[in-house]
């Protein structure tokens, strides 16, 4: 390789001016880079051999939802292994086609499109973060591919989406929050300060909890919204009013541990009552240093992370199948804590897909509408191996399921069940009737 020396004229050019422009260019370039997300780790469909049912799995492998994605993946694979070993769906095995959505709405819509047009998948399934669901659902409706989400956002039941989008395997924020308010008002206090992420999911918490606590004679005295990409939180805490009796917190993203730790550092030993959604600590070890102050605080859990005294045989079998120990961590790595409060939704949704396909005699993509109608016809689902989290009641009109919610208390760095709500606690009037929409 020949080496050329720098042109001698270079220093004569005005370095100051070119310099500033250069830096600006660099700054602009780095800005632009932030907007670009790279498609990663695509897994491609294999040639059709045994005519499997192809389920497109939209998964948060990267981005802020990655911890959820990892466990959604493990749960999905465990459910597929179980269903396939029991004979598959109508005798056909399930094949999962996983694609990373980068926890990004734009990429999410592309992934759905890829399932429909490139992989010719029977349906799309999976994702958690509500902004990705919002970004992807319209595309699923246009492409007429059933889209089974495991997101717990209220967007499905609110009527904002379409007939092709269903949420049969996990309850929504509105019902969860509504069921928590009586417990909070009766046991913890009536003056509540809410801390929540500043996007659709957090706004659901804000709106529905405010209404629900007022119905209980309580009041939300301050609402603190935090951008989901925030990495430092102390600066938000001074906004918590002094007469706060209960802090209601829910946070998501890679910085959740920092959030909870800084909350402890802020309050020290003089904390008010604290009620949190376990989202703030999903995939995070409860015995991490700095979390000692959580002792005696309460959490909502979709499904109790720690095996409880009254553990059902269904939870035992489900836990073992996914590879989760009695403390909610991976059996192969005790530091790898699961997203136990949410991931059961993948397991249950796949079982509902199986039931729906078998009820409708599903034979191929031409029967997609029949599949949706079969799921819409479902109502009560008993506590069983297909529904290890508990019994469910599906509402075919709103495409949303309802179920039991769990409240646990931190005792000696583990979460012990103190209250289980009834399904009736979580019901609210229908806001939409999707069955009136045409296919």
């Amino acid at each position: 390789m020949t080496k050329t020396s720098k042109p001698i004229l270079k220093p004569l050019l005005t370095p100051r001016l070119t310099g500033r422009r250069q830096v600006l260019k660099g700054a602009a370039a780095s800005l632009a880079l932030g907007a670009v997300s790279m498609p990663l780790m695509g897994r491609y469909a294999q040639t059709q051999s045994a005519e499997p049912i192809k389920i497109g799995f939209q998964v948060h492998r990267t981005g802020i939802g990655a911890a959820y994605g990892r466990w959604y993946d493990r749960t999905t694979m465990a459910a597929v292994d179980k269903i396939n070993s029991e004979g598959g769906i109508n005798g056909r095995p399930i094949e999962i086609i996983a694609e990373d959505d980068g926890t990004d709405p734009k990429r999410g819509a592309e992934v759905v499109e890829k399932f429909a047009t490139q992989h010719n998948a029977d349906l799309a399934f999976g994702t958690l973060f509500s902004h990705v669901v919002y970004g992807s659902a319209p595309r699923a409706g246009e492409l007429k591919i059933p889209y089974f989400v495991v997101s717990e956002g209220h967007h499905v039941a609110s009527g904002a989406l379409n007939r092709y989008t269903l949420q049969p395997g996990i309850t929504d924020v509105k019902s969860q929050v509504q069921a928590m308010a009586p417990f909070v008002a009766d046991n913890l206090g009536k003056k509540v300060t809410m801390v929540y992420p500043d996007f659709a999911f957090g706004h659901d918490h804000r709106d529905y909890f405010s209404a629900a606590i007022e119905a209980q004679g309580g009041k939300v005295i301050e609402k603190i919204a935090i951008p989901p990409t925030e990495t430092s939180f102390t600066k938000y805490f001074p906004k918590i009013p002094r007469d706060t009796e209960v802090i209601y917190h829910v946070m998501v993203g890679p910085a959740v541990l920092t959030f909870v730790k800084e909350m402890g550092e802020f309050f020290g030993s003089s904390r008010p009552e604290i009620f949190g959604f376990i989202d703030s600590l999903e995939a995070t070890d409860l015995s991490s240093p700095g979390l000692e102050f959580l002792e005696g605080t309460y959490f909502w859990e979709g499904n109790p992370r720690y095996a409880q005294a009254n553990q059902s045989e269904y939870d035992k079998a489900y836990r073992a199948a996914v590879g989760v120990d009695a403390n909610g961590a991976s059996v192969s790595d005790t530091k790898d804590v699961s997203t136990y409060a949410h991931m059961f939704g993948c397991w249950e949704t796949l079982h509902i897909v199986k039931a729906g396909m078998e009820a409708s005699g599903y034979s191929g993509t031409g029967d997609r509408a029949k599949l949706i109608e079969a799921v819409e016809a479902m109502t009560d689902m008993p506590h069983s191996h297909a529904h290890p989290q508990g019994a469910k009641r599906f509402n075919g009109k709103t495409h949303q399921t309802f179920g039991h919610q769990y409240i646990t208390r931190v005792n000696n760095s583990r979460l012990d069940l103190v209250h289980t709500t009834s399904i009736e606690d979580t019901l609210y009037p229908d806001e939409v009737d999707y069955t009136k929409q045409s296919f």
């Binding site: 100051r16 250069q22 830096v23 700054a27 790279m38 990663l40 990495t231 430092s232 600066k235």
Partner: protein
């Protein structure tokens, strides 16, 4: 909510941001000042510092202080060495051409980010601070018995955050001494002033460039090791600090170390205070507006030297 303790908390938070930002931006400014290279991968060197700190802490184990001090030395060294390799194998080969170095460092950014994702994974992982006591922030109030001190409800910071501020000040002083009082600093400044004349006087410019690039990356890594016990190591953590560093370097004046530090404190404090009193988004809006005004009214930056 009392105004004054609020102000103290906002200032401490702001100074922590400023401390980390100053170290990182000084690295960026140094590389630009001496080499005229706009290093878009600077944020990834920062991220790599945090990730390596986690690896070191995880491997050594034991008391958090021991593993943290080890990380404080090992992570910047490794990142600096990587930067030196990048300089000699990439930047030198394209003759430090301004446009091509931007593109090359963008490539470097993606390579580092994706390799981290493939090896370290997408998790955010914590490193334990060497020490971390909570300090309540006191304030004064008039009571019937006169002026008395009290501790407002739930207003606290930690010893580690204060230590980060102190440590950053020491490091910045050390860099200033290095640049102004040592032979290496003299050589760097000579190269900055005129590369060809420096070469004519027998300075090995290639070596100086490699060293400066390594030093710049090492500073970013050092900043990250300091912040990682407060935040957590995550493969996407480099982007925001990179943008803020660019803002700081432009406001402070290109290649001016003092200006960079002043701008970092300005941006950090305004970020802390505006975030506490209003919203963090407003803080970002104002920082960007300051850049615009500085570019219009003082194009060379607050303390940038008006070179002939």
């Amino acid at each position: 909510m009392e105004l004054a303790p609020y102000l103290i908390l906002g200032s401490i938070e702001g100074l922590v941001t400023a401390a980390v930002l100053a170290l990182m931006a000084v690295g960026l400014s140094l590389v630009f000042g001496v080499m005229r290279v706009v290093n878009v991968a600077h944020g990834e060197f920062f991220m790599l510092g945090a990730v390596l700190a986690w690896f070191v802490a995880d491997m050594i184990g034991g008391h958090p202080a021991i593993s943290f001090i080890a990380a404080l030395f090992i992570a910047p060294m490794l990142v600096g060495s990587l930067a030196i390799v990048a300089d000699t194998t990439i930047l030198k080969r394209i003759n430090y051409d301004p446009e091509r170095t931007i593109v090359a460092t963008i490539g470097l950014l993606y390579i580092i980010q994706q390799v981290t994702l493939m090896t370290y994974g997408s998790n955010a992982r914590p490193v334990e601070p060497p020490f971390n006591q909570r300090i309540s922030i006191p304030w004064f109030e008039w009571t019937e018995s006169g002026l008395s001190m009290y501790w407002p409800w739930g207003l606290g910071t930690t010893t580690y955050k204060l230590a980060v501020i102190g440590f950053a000040i020491i490091l910045l002083l050390a860099i200033w001494l290095l640049m102004t009082r040592t032979r290496i600093g003299l050589i760097m400044r000579a190269t900055q002033l005129d590369r060809d004349v420096a070469q004519a006087y027998g300075i090995n410019v290639d070596r100086v460039y490699a060293m400066v690039f390594g030093l710049g990356a090492g500073l970013a890594a050092l900043a990250a090791v300091l912040i990682v016990p407060i935040q957590q190591a995550h493969y996407l953590m480099g982007h925001d600090p990179l943008l803020l560093s660019f803002i700081v370097v432009i406001i402070g004046g290109l290649g001016s170390l003092a200006g960079t530090v002043v701008a970092a404190v300005l941006i950090g404090l305004s970020d802390g205070l505006i975030s506490v009193f209003f919203t963090p988004t407003l803080a970002k809006i104002i920082a960007t507006l300051i850049v615009t005004f500085v570019l219009i009214f003082r194009p060379s930056g607050l303390l940038g030297k008006h070179r002939p």
